[in-house]
Symmetry: C2
Subunit: 419 residues, 2 copies
């Protein structure tokens, strides 16, 4: 894509009411636009990042035989009354509206109820289980305070997966598969080193523990106690000598860190299957309730965490697999020779299937360099008088700031294969 064709531009002005660092950076770079607090539109480069995170999440859910569906945002009142979660006293983040004709409906803030109800049409025998079902969908939550940019949205993109199993042992098996898939996701999107599997409170979903993936973050809303050797953590909310001993952790070995929740896993047990009578007939002809689990991952939230935590004072820094492009290509000067050579480089990279953002604008070099840094694209490639003479290009890493002169063939050889 040529920057001259992209309708967005980097911006100096940001909305005065935008106080979160991730949204400020993403708005300045032209990746998102604020519609209202906690509600953001995605512009072309931001949409690419969001799509890439979604694709990675879907690939990893598919790898454990997750079956993708799409439930509805509009939710009928009756199925939520089955569990008592329609009441605003129980769930205080509903958006509610009315059908023309009168019936009250809600906007899906989660989907346990509709999916459990739906599965009654399909699950009746032990032969129908186990199964993983997931969706990537916009959720709506009427948060009173939505001041954290993409990290806490009123409208946000979430992957929610649900497991349906016959026994507690089978649940544990699927739980482990999902945990491993989550670890692969966080590694691929560039958060692997700072994201920890964390034991936490079961919350409204469960009387037992729940599990979170927590990313170390200066602006994180949680406090975790981290055992780096064991690569696990415990959420402060359940910290006690009893829990520590249960998890085999020693208080002195733990680091205290602020962290941001990027994923969670709840053992739902029969909390939803019982009220909906979602049962199955066992091999020896007994009727038993299905055991459920729930696995959330906030896709837009993760994008916010990455924007917030991996950035520096020059702007965004995207991990390679989710960057909107691999290279930010710049022609330094408008001499015919330089422009022609840059066009050649652009064409060659595109032909190799490598994504490039080509800053072909007629603006100062300093502006191009600043925009390259702000956009957070992993590698900057510059074509200048000097590089043309040497028949090379200048390559600079956004992370390390290291620069080298390299031939185009070498550049493609080093990077093309990874894609």
């Amino acid at each position: 894509m040529r920057v001259s064709k992209l309708f967005t531009k980097t911006r100096k002005d940001i909305p005065s009411d935008e106080t979160s660092k991730n949204a400020q950076l993403l708005i300045r770079a032209g990746f998102i636009e604020k519609e209202m607090a906690g509600v953001y539109a995605y512009l072309p480069l931001g949409k690419k990042v969001l799509d890439k995170i979604s694709t990675i999440v879907k690939e990893e859910m598919n790898s454990i035989e997750g079956q993708e569906i799409q439930l509805t945002a509009l939710q009928p009142k009756d199925i939520w009354e089955v569990t008592g979660r329609w009441s605003d006293d129980v769930v205080d983040i509903w958006f509610k509206t009315k059908l023309n004709g009168g019936a009250e409906i809600g906007l899906g803030m989660s989907h346990e109820e509709p999916l459990t109800a739906l599965l009654k049409n399909y699950i009746s025998s032990y032969q129908d289980l186990p199964v993983f079902i997931y969706q990537v969908q916009t959720k709506f939550r009427n948060e009173l305070r939505a001041k954290s940019g993409l990290m806490r949205g009123r409208e946000f993109l979430m992957k929610d997966m649900y497991s349906f199993t016959r026994t507690e042992e089978e649940h544990q098996k699927l739980f482990l598969e999902a945990k491993n898939a989550y670890e692969r996701v966080f590694k691929r999107i560039g958060l692997g080193d700072i994201t920890f599997f964390t034991t936490a409170d079961g919350g409204i979903f469960s009387s037992d523990f729940s599990y979170e993936f927590q990313t170390i973050a200066e602006t994180g809303e949680d406090i975790i106690y981290l055992d780096r050797d064991k690569n696990i953590a415990i959420n402060e909310e359940i910290l006690s000598d009893e829990v520590l001993s249960k998890l085999g952790l020693i208080r002195e070995n733990l680091e205290v860190k602020k962290a941001s929740e990027v994923g969670n896993i709840f053992n739902l047990g029969t909390k939803y299957s019982k009220p909906f009578d979602l049962n199955y007939v066992t091999e020896d002809n007994q009727l038993k309730p299905v055991i459920m689990g729930c696995y959330g991952l906030g896709i837009s939230r993760v994008m916010g965490v990455i924007a917030e935590e991996l950035s520096d004072d020059k702007g965004l820094i995207w991990p390679e697999e989710i960057a909107p492009a691999r290279f930010y290509l710049i022609n330094l000067g408008n001499d015919q020779e330089i422009v022609e050579r840059t066009n050649e480089v652009y064409k060659r990279l595109i032909d190799e299937g490598i994504e490039v953002l080509y800053d072909d604008r007629d603006v100062r070099a300093g502006e191009k360099f600043a925009d390259a840094d702000l956009s957070g694209i992993p590698y900057r490639v510059v074509v200048s008088k000097n590089t043309v003479v040497q028949n090379k290009v200048e390559l600079k890493s956004r992370v390390s700031n290291e620069t080298e002169l390299i031939t185009l063939d070498k550049l493609i050889e080093s990077f093309g294969v990874k894609l």
Copy 2:
């Protein structure tokens, strides 16, 4: 995918209040589930079809340099008051709700206002134009009557593209590019032969004509007058001698057909740019309002039209590019030799990158055949005692019903290359 692993099943029972043929078929085949009138969830096979249609639409919008974004479902009142479209007297299909804290908001039923407002941040000069911007997004419309299954949803998936141009001539140029892209979409999704570019009323968007793509459909809501030689049509709502002469059509040459609108194009002129002051500075330093166009395509609606119009008494019939799989593979009998051979065929097809739904269930042959037909997958492949002896498989086309015995190599050779 193995049918034994798929959580959905074909169903005999359908909701008693479901009267539309497309939804009845899709529910019976396990592609969708009804949540309420005009609101449907997509199950794994249905989600695949929806995604494939989306992908084709996106590819064709990208081919004319459309830039993909994602606007928000939650809409603030103030930007819609600029054009007067917040009022329920003007737009009677709003879903409205309230933020915790009190402010009234709406659910996006279209996105002209937010996009025009957003572009004020980015467009100021003739150098910023022209541009095509599009999104594929869930729209919400509070329809009083939603009895046509996927063909008229209260919650539905739509591609809406907008063009921003400097002059009427430039608008005409982009309009033609979009028209051609639409024709490629309808050809690829299998509606090319029965879909016609139709002149219609400008409606609330324009005082001039608008343009529709109308697919001939028994249950269509529109009447079109079709000139097959010229490959264009006119919507009955604007039929008059004056309009016919303007379009160079002769009444006697026209066929009357019921049809269903699958796409539309409006010349918005300055209807939105003027109230929002979306202006640009010309090369000779004049301030002019931007000329806009709007290009809609109902993705879930198109899926409904295809389910309704291309089906037969045995079930669905999916065009090849949007089918949930290319082959429906069946093992006829459970002899070890047959099962092993079918497993081989399955593995080989998957290794070739061909999508297969493998009906490995231990059920009657008749049930497998009926489900293969109902699912609408283009080709059925059967492995039986007879085919094993001949070292072939039996191939049957869902459309033509023609059957042939063919070697696996030949099968892959004929089909693999198309993918």
